[in-house]
């Protein structure tokens, strides 16, 4: 052993043997990332779980265990129940609107035409730029006095200046507005995901199905959909998770108002936990999101697995 080391090996550092062994180097390489995520996602997550069953506020930092009392209290609150319903309306409304826009947009962008690249670049804008900044632009467009939308309707003679809608001041319109802005932010993502899915279908598979006598519908639903489903579902679950847990659009556009009409779980958790400092109840409100997230993640895992087979 020593003899060959002298014969073949140039002088090695003390760490030489570690740097040669994938079995040691592998865990060593991956551990910083794992530790970072464990420390700043895993541990806080557990802490959130604990807060939700404690009496912790920033004024009285008590870790006293109170069982499910926090959950009982929040479910007893009218504001919370409105918030919960709002969250689902907001999520499903804006996702469906975004998906419809996304599907049609993808069909338009599927075939090449002059200027397609520029069109795609423009269409992607709502998703690319920071959502907070785009929301501020929408706020300006929904302005009670200088709304460009109202100006256009008035100029077209559709409505009269005296009964121009106060977009963010009316509870129903305000909900519509946050949904529209979220759908607007989301649909470019849906377009791109659909396009990615469709282009992942190999042309020879479609050709083979056509030769085998599969008609348009059969081709679509037995060949194309199963191939693009894993891609599209994984992408769309992303969109749903981010919509379901978001607070920035609501925070900036309506601040939850008018009268909690647009309050959603993320926003309410922020109001209670951060603004009012009632960490325990805030954590409980945020954790109500967890079962929904869990279901979404399970669905997503199934599709990731399927992709790998």
């Amino acid at each position: 052993m020593v003899a060959i080391a002298e014969k073949f090996v140039r002088p090695r550092s003390r760490f030489g043997s570690i740097l040669d062994r994938p079995k040691i180097l592998g865990p060593l390489f991956v551990s910083p990332a794992i530790l970072y995520v464990l420390a700043l996602v895993g541990a806080p997550f557990c802490l959130a779980l604990y807060y939700s069953v404690s009496a912790y506020t920033i004024y009285s930092q008590s870790y006293k265990f109170v069982g499910l009392a926090n959950f009982v209290q929040i479910f007893g609150s009218d504001i919370f129940r409105t918030t919960l319903v709002n969250t689902f309306i907001f999520t499903f409304g804006s996702q469906i609107l975004g998906l419809v826009l996304g599907k049609f947009g993808a069909l338009l962008l599927l075939k090449p035409f002059p200027g397609r690249k520029i069109v795609r670049a423009l269409i992607v804008l709502p998703w690319a730029v920071p959502v907070a900044l785009a929301t501020v632009a929408w706020e300006w467009m929904f302005d009670s006095l200088y709304s460009v939308i109202n100006w256009t309707f008035i100029a077209l003679g559709v409505i009269d200046r005296s009964d121009a809608p106060n977009w963010l001041g009316n509870p129903h319109l305000a909900m519509l507005c946050v949904m529209v802005v979220n759908a607007w932010r989301f649909f470019p993502f849906a377009i791109v995901i659909f396009l990615a899915g469709i282009t992942a279908v190999p042309q020879d598979v479609i050709d083979a199905a056509t030769v085998d006598g599969a008609g348009f519908w059969r081709r679509n639903y037995q060949i194309i959909v199963p191939i693009i489903a894993p891609i599209v579902v994984v992408g769309l679950i992303f969109g749903t998770v981010f919509t379901f847990t978001d607070l920035s659009i609501v925070y900036l556009l309506t601040n939850g108002g008018p009268v909690n009409a647009t309050s959603v779980l993320g926003f309410e958790g922020f109001q209670v936990g951060i603004v009012s400092g009632d960490v325990a109840h805030g954590a409980a409100i945020s954790l109500v999101m967890l079962p929904v997230l869990f279901v979404l993640v399970v669905v997503m895992l199934r599709f990731i697995r399927r992709r790998e087979i």
Binding site: K7, F8, V9
Partner: protein
């Protein structure tokens, strides 16, 4: 340059043995071919020799030193990969010089050696190109130059010709063989192609299911196979086998001839029913059936095409054929060879 000795090498992947007790001694300067079907463990064995895989059990000795615990770079071996593994971000010059640079060889010396290796393989004009600008044959030469430039103790080649087209493959075969004879480096060459194995190897180790079935010169492997696997794996068409006393009787298609072509004497006679014949230019392959044995057996015969007797072979006809007994191989019921020449 060095001799290589492997003793009882075992490699298990998740409980499955890819290499199952291989022992092989390769003397200094030999061109050893590891031949076997895909998935037989030959590549795994090669990777164990160079240190890319660690064996589960057994010893590798290179140049008299046990290298089990040494990383590949400390073993003094060079390897040429199936798709060459050229470094795409380096020029050919840097590719060839890389093994020297990692050993901190002085740059003047590197320049000299790269020039030497490039000239040897006729790729001097390619030195400033990048791998993706090269043809398949050129890439193969660059890979060979890179493997040779530091004058390795052992040269390992893993199916180096499988990415070349058929024509190029024949010339590359000659080149590698001629080259190895000139530099005399101990060479271990993995292939599933018996033509490469027969044409290039000083000796061939036939491997199947992680075990060596036979080691020998090409002549020994072909004429004197150790078992039924070797007999049928080497040779196209493969050796004919007919049931015989619970075991098998084997004979090569080119030894199975019309009776009048076999000099009389110590021969075994057969009645051969011709089913079909193929004219391949340099030979004629006749497919047919032997009857009157324990069961009817499909048999091929390989005949020189110009012989007058074959112009009138018709399907369905019976012809008297014979095999010289000296070329017959007997295999017992386990497939082991019962008689050795």
């Amino acid at each position: 340059m060095a001799a290589v000795q492997a003793t009882d090498i075992v490699k298990q992947f998740e409980g499955v043995a890819a290499v199952n007790g291989i022992s092989l001694a390769i003397p200094d300067g030999e061109f050893m071919v590891l031949l076997g079907p895909s998935g037989c463990g030959k590549t795994t064995f090669l990777r164990i020799i160079c240190g890319l895989e660690k064996q589960t059990g057994g010893d590798i000795v290179i140049g008299g030193n046990v290298v089990n615990e040494l990383p590949p770079r400390a073993r003094g071996v060079a390897m040429m990969f199936q798709s060459y593994g050229l470094y795409p971000h380096y020029t050919v010059r840097k590719n060839i010089g890389f093994p020297l640079r990692t050993q901190r060889v002085a740059s003047a010396e590197i320049k000299k050696k790269v020039g030497w290796a490039a000239e040897l393989l006729g790729i001097t004009h390619l030195l400033d190109r990048r791998p993706r600008q090269l043809s398949g044959g050129e890439r193969q030469r660059v890979a060979l130059a890179r493997a040779l430039v530091r004058e390795p103790t052992v040269l390992l080649l893993d199916e180096p010709l499988s990415n070349l087209d058929a024509k190029l493959r024949a010339s590359a075969r000659n080149e590698i063989k001629a080259f190895q004879q000139r530099v005399g480096t101990t060479t271990i060459y993995v292939t599933h192609d018996q033509v490469e194995a027969m044409g290039m190897g000083d000796r061939i180790a036939v491997i199947d299911h992680g075990q060596i079935r036979q080691v020998g010169t090409p002549t020994a492997i072909y004429d004197d196979p150790a078992d039924r696997f070797v007999a049928t794996f080497v040779g196209t068409p493969p050796m004919n086998l007919v049931n015989w006393n619970g075991g098998h009787l084997g004979f090569r298609p080119e030894n199975f001839l019309p009776k009048e072509m076999v000099e009389s004497g110590d021969v075994t006679d057969f009645s051969f029913r011709v089913d079909r014949s193929e004219y391949l230019g340099s030979e004629r392959i006749v497919y047919g059936t032997l009857e009157g044995l324990e069961s009817a057996t499909e048999i091929t015969a390989k005949l020189p095409p110009a012989h007058v007797a074959f112009e009138n072979i018709r399907p369905g006809e019976y012809h008297p054929y014979a095999v010289r007994n000296a070329t017959l191989c007997y295999f017992d019921k386990d497939g082991k060879r019962a008689n050795r020449h």
